[in-house]
Symmetry: C2
Subunit: 71 residues, 2 copies
Amino acid sequence: MAMIRQPENFPETVKAVRRQLALSQEELAHALGVSFATVNRWENGKTVPSKLAQRQFWQFCAQMKEQGKLI
Amino acid sequence: MAMIRQPENFPETVKAVRRQLALSQEELAHALGVSFATVNRWENGKTVPSKLAQRQFWQFCAQMKEQGKLI
DNA sequence: CACACCGCATAGCAGATGCTATATTGTCGG
DNA sequence: CCGACAATATAGCATCTGCTATGCGGTGTG
């Protein structure tokens, strides 16, 4: 088993995180090191993040939480 | 311009880094959060790393240097 | 020698990504 | 209302990635 942590609803999670941080899709994409199109596709459920992108996303969230910018 | 840093010979760089750290392709892949096939393709010049993968690779190298594990 | 591994190379396929271009949807000031 | 602008949605195409399987040389170990 040993699945990668993935919330039931990844698209909503990305949107929620992005809005808490008051970032545009473009800005979040830059912060994560991916393209705007990629973040957009995640939020609209067109694709699911790659292994590395998932790691990067959760790591980013953890950092933001450490800084108190994210609940 | 603002290009992404990319040595003349990425395949050789990956091999060199990996061997200094005494890791197998499998182990390096795991450390980077990508698959074995991906590291293997980088080393054999079959593909060039994605934007995010490049960031991850250089960040990993920087960490290893901080720890004195890499020159 | 036969056998089981391990590390590495390679291939095929489905899905993800980067880039570009083109809508669409607000939200302003005029 | 109208034009301008930013943010978002969507699409196509080339490339990258993950997964699985296969082959191949080297290294034990019986």
